[in-house]
Amino acid sequence: MTVNRRKKPASVNPMKIGQSLGAVLALQGCYRAMPLIHGSQGCSAFPKALLTRHFREPIAVQTSALQEMDVIFDANRNLEEALNLVLSKHRPDIIGIIGTELTDVAGVDYQNMLKSYKRERNLRGGLAFSVVLPDFRGSLESGFSSTVEAMIDEMIQQVGHRGQRSVNARQITLLPGSFLTPADVMELKEIISSFGFEVIALPDISTSLSGHLLTGFSPLTRGGVPLDSMLQSLQSGLTIAVGGSMERPARRLHNAIGTPYKVFEGAMGLKATDELLHFLHQISGEPVPLRYCWQRENLLDGMLDAHFQFAGMSVVAALEPDHLHSVSGWLEELGVEQKALITSFETPLIAGMKREVWVGDLDDAEVLGKGADLWISNSHGIAGAQRTGAAFMPAGFPVWNELGAYMSVSVGYRGAMEWSNKAGNLFMQREAGSRESSVRHR
């Protein structure tokens, strides 16, 4: 309905995260990839530390390590040096060059540089692309989707345009949004494949950031979708995008090679999951697998059990745009009051929401969500939730105060149940706490 902003000059307790971090995240979902951030050392060190903290996994990322004089004279010399080293030392299959605010303000043309680098070195067989992601626009979400788009662009360039496509109608390309956890991506893959489809997730963090000990440590990513599967995905009969931000990459595939697409704004909660399963049922002609029918019953029963806890409660949520949209839909189904919804930047999906949304930071969540019983945001929100006396439910990125956050499921009936129980439990604990303190006072 309306997108608002509170008037204040500074960002206080930001929830917004640089776009380049989203790009690094996207590349973690590709096998043997190396994101290369074109900026100063900190531009890669901070995202690396933050992603490591959230996923509790080593994160593959490198930097062109720009210093003042490099920026003034020739930033691309550093990039070339970095490329040489990374290519000879690690031999990645995929390399993504991520431009930062620094290269953007300095006006560095690394895109053309990459082109001529590839031509001169006769670079073939791998995927090398660049993407411009200054952080004075967008946030994690836009960085992620822009990177997927750039990746798809490069794939199409390499394989060539329409004409050579032999469409495989039983194969679906899944474009999962940045707000989905590795377990969410896994769940979506399972749901879609249970209707008899082959699924290629692009990118696929479910096999790289979900934790495994199979291959030991590698400086490159140790899981995710391999390059040949990525190229194979161009033959898919359909693209399914989850999250409004993934519509653009889906449209890119459609425009370039004609793959039809379907965008699901989210897959959280009863209605959203119904919609997804119904769609899959229709296009496959297969019945909805029994386990999802059963899970649906579980969810409804669980929501009935929990509705006593949710009655009269209010929630403040501060999340990235797509995520906020999903979570808001789920809250709607629980019948709780949505005291304030805050997001990091404006997107078409957010602008089209029926509810009032604020673009801002966690300080706005504190002010606008005053009196809310539950606070949903990344771990930076803990202090704010404490100050306002709300129960704290970590979600989004980064979450560091909880083990296994990256493996929590939010999509499908299972995810809705997991979240409903989590939130309900927090309310129960809070209630118990306040009862105890009232006894003591007497």
Binding site: K8, A10, Q41, Q62, Q67, P134, F136, L214
Partner: protein, 454 residues
């Protein structure tokens, strides 16, 4: 505001006041690890808990970095707020100075901090904003110190950032205030950031020996106490690489003697306490320190006995920066743990000399990063455990190597006598955990053939 003293600052490459033989080397593109100068400046100044810390630049510099340190506060928490001017496209084009000014006013009006530190970032440095002028003007207008910290990421490494932050303290903070009359003057602790509350263990020890802490620079510090740091009688430099220059400059300006010391390990702790008392030139205090350290060491010896038995002969690879590279070696040696590999990439030449004093000839020096290089050392030297920072923690986990976190994100305090006991316990728990055996044995159906190739 005006620099309070317009002294000459040296124009050495790394901004260090004390010339160093090896100035900060250029980071290698494609292989650089670790943070930038902006990161380093924050590390040094964020522990001033009651001040506001405003990052002037686009969002990522603040958005990706706030609340990432394990530095603890015993009171105010304003420094844990993330403040950023969050520049947008149009701010870049039309200039962000107005926004900076408004942000400073806003923070001062709403939070009333004793001081505001303003950090420049690559972008604002590149667009040539006159941050110093904005800060000076703002300080005059609102009547609290507004301190520009000129340490954008692209000037160099994290260490350089530490030093530039030290310069900012010298130029704008130290010497601008006077201690309250009843303050007992003693030692400044420089470069101790109260990670996991280590500072509190140290302070407790110092208090037992009757040694007062004048200023904490900067673990769990309050702005005011740093303004009177120039009245201290001794400076102890806990993290030498970062702020040695600060101590040297304070010696020449204010005649405060300094020494470099550490609190990792019982011997180092005892030495540091003795040095303090010695430099204070107080015989009575020296006797008190002797009594205290004897008592503490004896008690510690008792408590350590069961752990020493388990740890004797164990081999460790240590990969950390600066002062910890040698001081932790001492601590480990006291526990009977042999250091078979040690990282030196963030160490000064002095540090390397100190490392050499403490380890045998068969210890491998790991000059520069790369997780693969550390793992190689662990394997080749048959180490039992890896001791490093959080960034390498999950690298070790992937290789199923027992690990202890020694850097700034950790949650355990290892300083002082108590800290050594804690370290011994952590090492023992880590090595004895059943997971190592479980992870190393294959699934029953994979027993015949190895499930994967390495």
């Amino acid at each position: 505001m005006d620099p309070l003293r317009q002294d000459e600052f040296d124009s050495q490459a790394c901004g260090s006041i004390a010339p160093k033989a090896k100035p900060c080397p250029r980071p290698k593109p494609g292989e650089a690890v670790g943070g930038c100068s902006f990161d380093g400046a924050q590390i040094t100044l964020l522990p001033i808990m009651d001040a506001a810390h405003l990052v002037h630049g686009p969002i990522a510099c603040a958005g990706n970095s706030w609340e990432s340190r394990g530095t603890l506060s015993s009171g105010p928490s304003l420094s844990q707020y993330g403040f950023a001017t969050d520049l947008t496209d149009s701010d870049i084009i039309f200039g962000g100075e107005k926004k900076l000014k408004d942000s400073i006013d806003y923070i001062a009006g709403r939070f009333a901090p004793p001081a505001i530190f303003v950090y420049s970032t690559c972008v604002t440095a590149l667009t040539g904003e006159d941050m110093d002028a904005v800060c000076k003007e703002a300080a005059d207008r609102i009547g609290i110190p507004v301190i520009p910290v000129n340490s954008p990421g692209f000037v160099g490494s994290k260490n350089l950032g530490n030093r530039l932050a030290g310069d900012a303290l010298l130029q704008y903070v130290i010497g601008t205030g006077e201690p309250e009359p009843e303050t007992d003057l003693g030692v400044n602790l420089i470069g101790e950031y109260n990670i996991a509350g280590e500072m509190w263990d140290i302070e407790k020890l110092m208090n037992s020996a009757g040694i007062a802490v004048t200023s904490r620079i900067t673990g769990d510090a309050r702005y005011k106490e740093i303004t009177w740091a120039h009245r201290a009688r001794v400076n102890m430099v806990v993290c030498s690489r970062a702020l040695l220059g600060l101590a040297k400059e304070m010696e020449s300006r204010y005649g405060i003697p300094y020494f470099e010391g550490s609190f990792y390990g019982a011997k180092e702790t005892t030495y540091s306490l003795r040095q303090m008392a010695y430099l204070m030139n107080d015989r009575e205090m020296e006797r008190r320190v002797d009594r205290l350290t004897e008592r503490e060491e004896a008690r510690l010896g008792q408590e350590l006995r069961p752990y020493r038995k388990l740890l004797r002969g164990k081999r460790a690879v240590l990969y950390t920066g600066g002062v910890k590279s040698w001081s932790v070696i001492s601590a480990l040696k006291e526990l009977g743990v042999q250091v078979v590999g040690v990282g030196t990439n963030k160490s000064t030449e002095d540090d390397v000399r100190r490392i050499a004093d403490r380890v045998g000839d068969d210890t491998e020096y790991i000059p520069e990063g790369g997780a693969s290089r550390i793992i190689k050392t662990v394997r080749e030297r048959k180490a039992d455990i890896m001791i490093a920072g959080g960034r390498n923690m999950y690298v070790a986990m992937k290789e199923q190597i027992p690990f202890i976190d020694i850097n700034q994100e950790r949650h355990k305090a290892y300083a002082g006598y108590e800290g050594l006991l804690r370290l011994a316990k952590e090492l023992t728990y880590s090595l004895a955990n059943p997971i190592w055996k479980l992870a190393a044995s294959p699934a029953p159906w994979d027993k015949e053939a190895p499930p994967y190739d390495r």
